[in-house]
Symmetry: C2
Subunit: 437 residues, 2 copies
Amino acid sequence: MKSYKKMSREELHRLQEQLNKAYVEAKGKGLKLDMSRGKPSAAQLDMEMDFMDVLISSSDYKTEAGLDTRNYGAMDGIPEAKELMAQMMGVASAEQVIVCGNASLSIMYDMVSRCMIHGIFGNTPWCKLDKVKFLCPAPGYDRHFAITQHFGIEMITVPMTAEGPDMDMVEKLTAEDESIKGIWCVPKYSNPQGYTYSDGTVRRFAALKPAAKDFRIFWDNAYAIHHLYEDEQEEILDIISECEKAGNPDIVYEISSTSKVTFAGGGISAIAASKANLDEIRKSMTVQTIGFDKINQLRHVRYFKNLDGLKAHMMKHAQIMRPKFEAVLKVLNEELGGLGIAEWTNPKGGYFISFEAMDGCAKKIVAKCREAGVVLTGAGATYPYGEDPNDSNIRLAPTFPTSEELAAATDLFVLCVKLVSVEALLESSGQMEKRAC
Amino acid sequence: MKSYKKMSREELHRLQEQLNKAYVEAKGKGLKLDMSRGKPSAAQLDMEMDFMDVLISSSDYKTEAGLDTRNYGAMDGIPEAKELMAQMMGVASAEQVIVCGNASLSIMYDMVSRCMIHGIFGNTPWCKLDKVKFLCPAPGYDRHFAITQHFGIEMITVPMTAEGPDMDMVEKLTAEDESIKGIWCVPKYSNPQGYTYSDGTVRRFAALKPAAKDFRIFWDNAYAIHHLYEDEQEEILDIISECEKAGNPDIVYEISSTSKVTFAGGGISAIAASKANLDEIRKSMTVQTIGFDKINQLRHVRYFKNLDGLKAHMMKHAQIMRPKFEAVLKVLNEELGGLGIAEWTNPKGGYFISFEAMDGCAKKIVAKCREAGVVLTGAGATYPYGEDPNDSNIRLAPTFPTSEELAAATDLFVLCVKLVSVEALLESSGQMEKRAC
């Protein structure tokens, strides 16, 4: 296909006319589709219903050690759930894990909140400091940025690469600026790119020498086992072990959950960290809760048994999700490949595709889609403060719609990308012509 | 029985000798019992197991409005769970309710945390103030006091009466001191007394005119339906309605949970408050969570259906708990009645009996019990900072042990009360004699 950028104004005008016509037709179809969030589809949820049969009235509710999961106790999780989550997160030992409630987001909120009010290891609570900053690799996860914004923490954007965040910048900034207290990471099948941090990146994280003694890496291993392929699975190093080896055992909090393994909002979550970190967290937790829902912890253990059980289960998810990712990517390739107006990632896992439009086009594309009935993640959402400096990134979430809906939504999406791009090219070439006059 | 206080020193010495002998025998029995916390017994947990059968693989997981509880959404609770919790809490409308996760303690921690960092209705966040104080009716719930202590909030003890907290003191202090930002209340079947606030007390709470605009009543309605008797049920006025009527709609946060209805740690919790309060809470919640475990919310709704279902269920709990309360009270009456060395409450609901020993005796009694193998709630736990100024209050939690264990534990308890009281009386009469010389 001919690159749009090589087209004459006349060609672009003709194309614009065709695209506009197609867009009017598309609007007429009255679509009403939501591709905004990384939600599992009904088919994914239906496939795992026997999960609900492992704990019924006749079941035994005791842990291996004899603790009744229906009563108070085991504040930091039942031992077998710690073991399961340790395996899922790729952490060396269950001792490094606390199992919590239904959401890793709440854990991360709590961790930041705890740092704000109580501080880490006796350091000044962040709320008593004039300035607290976080590094935010971007495009990234909007809900991470929402937490730091909510607590009044200043966010500094760090560019993302296929290997992970720009580590030169991370090392330089953390070494220089004591007010930088944390960094948000989604190290595996990153949201929204689907990138997996390279071993080199993980090791550079483990070896960081930040000016702030109470600097923490918030390592949100949300997609630890969320592969799309049986034979092309990406893996990361265990950050906890790497930090230990680097003499930096306390620098990282790792977080994960089964929200996209069992049920969204009905899973279990976990923190992994050094003993010193976990002891400090447990001290606060004692005040905060008598314990999390241990019945759901036990349900997970009884159903999955171990990492093999989890992995087999995730391949069932993959079978449903993979065709959706491939369908979207096929349309993108066929319709936008070679046009020189967009790039996108080709993830092997996770829940998203990251799409890069021409600068200044993302908001317009999202608006055009919405006008025709397809809701995408808001443009800008993948950047701190919701402000994408280039207005180019769009997060695509292909999992929730059915295949038919997805086809219709993607067709509309590429149409809008073309239309907005042509308009942008016409405008810029118009300005160039004016300047030439 | 003859009052110990009317005994001669000689009589007391003789008694002491008998009691010491009995105590040595008791120690020899090698008891190992825990009466320290308000935990449901295994029999209570066993009786409700069909609760686990209402959501199995073949069930429908959609709410009445068609929302799939297995997926994200409904951050502030599914509508039918709001309705159920509104009925349970005696709140006028489901609109006044947010349904949360498994623990009301976490809600209360979060609320205080939110006030600390973000403040209420645009007022200065509490962490930015030099001094923040809470009123703490005591004897009260140790975990409430732990939260305020954890956040560095100064606690002021307010005496409890059978009608509720000393309202003259509450009115005076809140009117005078702008740094008083809250009060902890367990208004029904209070922990540890089992007192229920009178209508007059509730109305005086609703009509408070605190100096602090961001003063809040933390109304922990933990035992809303936890009656011990079918025919002697205490009720309280709906604080939310009373506050509305008094022109004070925003002054109260009400909290409750089903931890002692279904499973301890496996229940659901709720906040009830004015729309303005709930809107502010929702604003933070949006950052904190995508939503709580809606499957467990639905399970509660399907199982109980409505208040009648809840009430019928609670009578099953009562049948198991009532004999335990009555057995303890019988021993207290028979063994300590008329001795002039102790008083105790006679609760019609809740999980505890509040026991008042002679001043200066509580710690010694608890220690003596522990030495012989019976763990009670630590003396002082019912007061802010764990410091009972009279060292007289002991919380008895009769629910967890079996009847046999409870009989053994109570026998030991009254023996220790007698022994420590005799020692105290001998000591004080000894001092009086010395002074007389």
